[in-house]
């Protein structure tokens, strides 16, 4: 592996999140280093997705601080997180059902498109030029993910595995610094999982994108991630390289239940 893990890019300190009386996250701290693959694991309802939602601004934690590249981040809406370079995919695919694969991925370029609405209405030179320029970039992503044959298909008609790939493509179109992946391999068969693993590692390798990954398949997690953080009932119970986590008694207890 040619990539080099860099400094801490995102530092989460003492994050607590509540919905009414329900505690989703309690006092969680961990950091994410540049260019690494960081996995978040834990049983169902452990608060993994909530953690991602906190990172990209969908949820606002009641307590705790988030440092992004050393600077404290203010309360932030998702589109602001996106403009600082945080992209994500979704556990339950959240594609734009009424649009084609191409258009879905093109929306990912939105932040980088600058022509105003009047030029777009008239389809004048700059608007058209910009459209073509971004189309070229999107076609690269389509090639990368090997979905050329379905570029004009409405995403609603695609099988599950391909939809997951388009979801990844849309996030990649943002050329993110940090890519959050929420169970990218859930519900896939072995071949699809292998493909997805390859894409994730390629993204990490070729573009140097930092990856935060939620995944249930332990084999995959232990294989591809550099460091793993383990959550259970909204609390952090383990953190470290895969081997450390694997031998952590508390993690074993959480996964296998008490008494083992």
């Amino acid at each position: 592996m040619s990539r080099k893990i860099g400094d801490v890019i995102l530092d989460l300190q003492n994050i607590s999140l509540r919905f009414g009386g329900v505690k989703a996250l309690t006092d969680i701290s961990f950091d994410i280093r540049e260019h690494e693959v960081r996995a978040i694991i834990g049983p169902n309802g452990a608060g993994k997705s909530s953690m991602l939602n906190v990172i990209n601004g969908v949820y606002h934690p009641q307590e705790g601080k988030i440092f992004y590249r050393g600077e404290e981040r203010r309360k932030m809406e998702p589109h602001m997180a996106a403009s600082t370079g945080i992209a994500r995919t979704f556990q339950n695919i959240a594609l734009f059902k009424g649009m084609s694969v191409l258009d879905n991925i093109m929306t990912g370029r939105n932040l980088k498109m600058k022509t105003n609405i009047l030029l777009q209405a008239l389809w004048l030179g700059p608007a058209q030029k910009e459209e073509i320029e971004h189309r070229r970039k999107v076609e690269e992503i389509i090639d990368f993910l090997e979905i050329q044959h379905i570029r004009k298909t409405p995403v609603g008609r695609l099988p599950y595995g391909l939809q997951k790939r388009v979801d990844l493509g849309r996030a990649l179109a943002m050329e993110p610094q940090i890519l959050l992946l929420d169970e990218p391999m859930a519900g896939m068969n072995v071949e699809e999982k292998q493909d997805m693993c390859r894409f994730i590692l390629d993204v990490n390798d070729q573009f140097g994108t930092t990856i935060v990954l939620i995944e249930h398949d332990m084999g995959v997690v232990m294989d591809i991630s550099d460091r793993v953080v383990v959550l259970d009932y909204g609390k952090k119970i383990g953190d470290g390289v895969p081997d450390e986590v694997r031998s952590n008694p508390e993690v074993i207890k959480a996964y296998l239940g008490a008494g083992h």
Partner: protein, 309 residues
């Protein structure tokens, strides 16, 4: 002060009637997720049926007993509303399961047109009266408290009472009876309810029928006050702010929302209206509901929406 209280009470009474129409919306929305724009047309239809049946029954009985004629008319109109509910379920709802909200909304607008057309074709398009023997004379109350006392329309008072009783009965029906439980289950999750053996189609007929009865009562009250005519169908538009204020899924919300809107309308018309040329009550109700929505998007008693991704 006496005048203020009088306006306030007038508002509460009018609000009770709004609640009644709003209740129809809420019932149907809860059970089938349909935002029923035809509720106003149902009020008109029911009132037309009531007015004409009572007229015909009175003639058939030789004008002896107005009470009996009204009773027959009420039962007859109830049966008519049941048939309406059944036909709507059969021909429309059943074929539109799982469609989007906007499509269903449009379908109910279509139903509204049909009901207005059919109602006026069968029962006639003139202005009719409903006389259920409501006392029309005002009474003066609380003379000891306020100078000159407070004038209250007995008719309004009785109407509010009927509305309150109806609301109570419906609440009991929803909370305590097996059918009510089934309706709530369907409201919660169509598929889950179906999977435990609750017949979806039958519950829809029941709930549209109940909404039809509610429309009938509303129609009788509004009709005996204002006469039965085409404009009754627009009552629905007056009641919409009530629904969004109270939350689309909440029965108590419909009641309290109705009261707030009723009072707000009356007070605004009396105290604000003269400065801006009058006639502001209808949009004021909407504005009130809107301002409220900006702070609580789910309405007064609606369930809080949490985005899960």
């Amino acid at each position: 002060m006496g005048f203020f209280v009088e306006t306030l009470i007038g508002g509460l009474m009018a609000g009770m009637l709004y609640s009644l129409v709003a209740l129809g919306f809420v019932l149907i929305f809860k059970a089938s997720g349909v935002f029923n724009f035809a509720q106003g047309a149902m009020v008109l239809f029911a009132a037309l049926a009531m007015a004409r049946f009572s007229e015909w029954a009175n003639i058939a009985l030789g004008g002896d007993s107005l009470f009996l004629a009204n009773l027959i008319a009420f039962l007859g109109a109830g049966v008519v509303m049941f048939i309406v509910a059944w036909i709507i379920e059969r021909l429309v709802l059943r074929n539109l399961v799982n469609q989007e909200g906007a499509t269903l909304l449009m379908a109910t607008l279509g139903i509204a047109y049909v009901l207005e057309g059919v109602g006026q074709t069968i029962f006639g398009g003139q202005i009719y009266t409903i006389d259920v023997g409501m006392p029309k004379d005002p009474v003066i109350m609380f003379e000891s408290l306020f100078e000159g006392g407070i004038m209250i329309n007995k008719e309004d008072f009785i109407a509010a009472l009927i509305a309150a009783v109806l609301v109570g009965v419906l609440t009991l029906f929803f909370q305590k009876t097996p059918t009510g439980r089934a309706l709530r289950a369907v409201a919660d999750d169509h598929q889950a309810a179906q999977s435990i053996g609750i017949p979806l189609n039958r519950t829809w007929v029941i709930v549209w029928c109940v909404a039809g009865i509610v429309a009938l009562v509303a129609g009788i009250i509004w009709g005996s006050k204002l006469g039965v005519q085409f404009s009754l169908a627009t009552v629905a538009l007056r009641a919409l702010p009530v629904v969004i204020l109270g939350g689309l899924t909440s029965v108590p919300g419909a009641i309290i929302g109705g009261l707030i809107i009723g009072v707000g309308e009356k007070l605004s018309e009396v105290y604000l209206g003269p400065y801006v040329g009058g006639g502001i009550e209808i949009w004021f109700a909407y504005a009130l509901a809107l301002v409220f929505l900006l702070f609580r998007p789910q309405g007064l008693f609606g369930e809080k929406i949490i985005n899960r991704v």
